[in-house]
């Protein structure tokens, strides 16, 4: 099961979807083809925006850091933030905005508590590089890494409800000790 498979499984058929940082629009395209879920992507990068248009996906070229003012309250069933949380400066504000705009949110991120990353810091003494986090420290677009435990704490602080949680490593679900053994974390949350 890939991360995208998990997200597609969590989206209800026909749901109105907003995908923040949608990349080339592949997820939105799948959601339309498999779930008849009409969606919009938000993306800032020119090359990604072009890919979205080629993929026949509705895309809005906007900066997430400017907030979600373009979207009305509760105008979407599901707002997705896939592999983008760590690249955002104001995560708290964005999570609140996502749950203003959508009834639910799906968030996925690379778990910085994954044991391989811990080992790289603990014993290699270097910032970790992995399939999920392929960038060297000086060129990474990521500004705010977190672990599964950190994210749980933020969700609790914001008073949000976790509807479902999932940790994945190498395409397989991790049930025990997810903060140690999970490379990628996914959450379905609501206000």
């Amino acid at each position: 099961m890939t991360e995208a498979d998990a997200i597609v499984a969590w989206v209800a058929p026909g749901a109105r979807v907003l995908d923040l940082g949608c990349g080339d629009g592949a997820l939105l395209r799948r959601l339309w083809e498999e779930k008849r879920a009409p969606g919009y992507g938000v993306e800032i990068d020119d090359a990604h925006v072009l890919e979205c248009l080629k993929n026949d996906v509705n895309v809005l070229q906007m900066d997430l850091e400017d907030g979600l003012a373009a979207f009305a309250d509760r105008s979407f069933d599901c707002v997705i933030l896939s592999e983008t949380l760590q690249a955002i400066r104001r995560q708290e504000a964005l999570l609140r905005e996502m749950l203003r705009v959508g009834r639910e949110a799906i968030v996925s991120f690379p778990n910085f508590g994954y044991w391989r990353l811990r080992l790289q810091i603990a014993f290699g003494g270097r910032m970790p590089v992995s399939p999920e986090l392929p960038y060297a420290w000086y060129e990474t677009p990521n500004v705010h890494h977190c672990t599964i435990a950190d994210f749980e704490a933020l969700v609790a602080k914001l008073g949000l409800r976790v509807l479902e949680r999932l940790a994945l490593t190498g395409g397989r679900r991790v049930r025990a000790a997810p903060n140690l053994l999970g490379a990628t974390a996914l959450y379905r949350i609501s206000a």
Binding site: L53, K54, N58, V59, L60, Q61, S75
Partner: protein
């Protein structure tokens, strides 16, 4: 026909005219008893009549969108980089119509045309036509051409207003509305610039209250200044600085009022050129059409409510350095479309040239439009 097949060019084209005898009631309440619309077409209308694209032009352009004339090969259409075989609006696939708005001085009936009631040019008596009126007249042209529904209506600047108006006035006749460097309404500053341009014309002694045709003169001073003002708003500060800087035209400042700086020379040249081909009565009316356009006005200022009746898919495009109709204006359109739950994509192109960028050949802009048009199902 021995048309030279330039790569990417539609080649030799011909301007046509359609005559309409049914009176057209205008938004102002005035009635145009009969009129002509100048237009050009490129490509072929397919059997299902599903591949027609209407190109709406901006202030000083015309129905001559692409290609060139046999007897005037240097007169290349104003959007030749966008429309043609293999271009973003691909004439191998689409049947493209360029239509000249009512009140123009390039072929459609306008103030310089003969008023059938008097046998003399309309002049000041030509009614004020609005964006709504233009679109109503274009719809009759579409009927004449056998086009029930356009695959797309596309325009930049004032042309963008027409694309919006098409989607609002004829929701069932537009499948895609492509709104480039547009605005849902002019700002006070936009209207202010237009008013200065109008005053330049109206105060020219050669204007004669708009009846200058009879007098054998043209209010060229007014037109020159109007165009100079317009040109300032079409370019970004950076683009102007890059193009001209503080470059002097002469060895040293002259301490007089002849041309010192390159930018003065450029504006004077543009103003002079414009005053030789553009009609002052047309300029006055078009700036008013711009000022009046406000589709949200009938809905308590709520643009989203105005869009509730639209059925088209929208593509909205803005340019970051455009300060005439800046991205914030396009984002208003996008927000209203989202609030009305319409389908929309939005591009904000980081081009440096200002408002004029919509006419220029920017790779990101053209690639995006090409991708969008390729996905229009025929």
């Amino acid at each position: 026909m021995n048309a030279p097949r330039l790569p990417g060019s539609v080649g030799i084209v011909e301007a046509k005219k359609a005559t309409f005898d049914e009176p057209l009631r205008l938004k102002s309440g005035a009635v145009l008893p009969a009129y002509e619309i100048a237009y050009e077409t490129y490509g072929r209308l397919n059997g299902a009549r599903s591949n027609a694209v209407l190109v709406c032009h901006a202030l000083n352009a015309s129905h001559h969108v692409a290609g060139f004339y046999a007897d005037d090969p240097d007169n290349v259409g104003w959007w030749d980089n966008m429309v043609g075989p293999g271009k973003p609006v691909d004439t191998e696939r689409f049947f493209v119509v360029g239509s000249n708005y009512l009140g123009s001085c390039f072929g459609s009936t306008g103030p310089a045309s003969i008023n059938p009631a008097t046998g003399r040019p309309w002049g000041a008596d030509f009614p004020l036509v609005t964006v709504e009126d233009w679109v109503a007249a274009q719809a009759r042209l579409a009927d004449r051409l056998g086009i029930e529904r356009f695959a797309a209506v596309i325009g930049g600047s004032l042309g963008a207003m027409q694309a919006l108006q098409w989607a609002l006035a004829f929701p069932e006749r537009v499948r895609h509305a492509i709104v480039i460097a547009g605005t849902p309404r002019l700002s006070a500053q936009n209207i202010a610039f237009n008013e200065v341009a109008r005053q330049a014309i109206l105060s020219d002694p050669d204007f004669h209250g708009g009846h200058y045709y009879d007098k054998g003169v043209v209010p060229r001073r007014g037109l020159r200044i109007a165009r100079m003002i317009g040109h300032i708003t079409y370019l970004s500060d950076d683009a102007m600085m890059e193009k001209f800087g503080r470059q002097l035209r002469r060895a040293a400042p002259g301490f007089d009022f002849d041309i010192d700086f390159e930018v003065e020379s450029y504006l004077r040249y543009q103003g002079e050129k414009f005053s030789r081909y553009f009609d002052a009565n047309t300029y006055l009316r078009i700036t008013k059409a711009l000022d009046y356009f406000d589709p949200a006005a009938d809905f308590g200022g709520d643009l989203a409510r105005a869009f509730a009746r639209a059925r088209a898919d929208f593509l909205v495009v803005s340019f970051k350095s455009d300060w005439r109709f800046p991205p914030a204006r396009s984002r208003e359109i996008v927000k209203a479309l989202l609030d009305a739950r319409r389908i929309v994509s939005y591009l904000e192109i980081d081009a440096p040239q200002g408002h004029d960028a919509f006419l220029l050949d920017d790779a990101r802009y053209h690639a995006a439009l090409a991708a969008y048009f390729r996905n229009i199902v025929l």
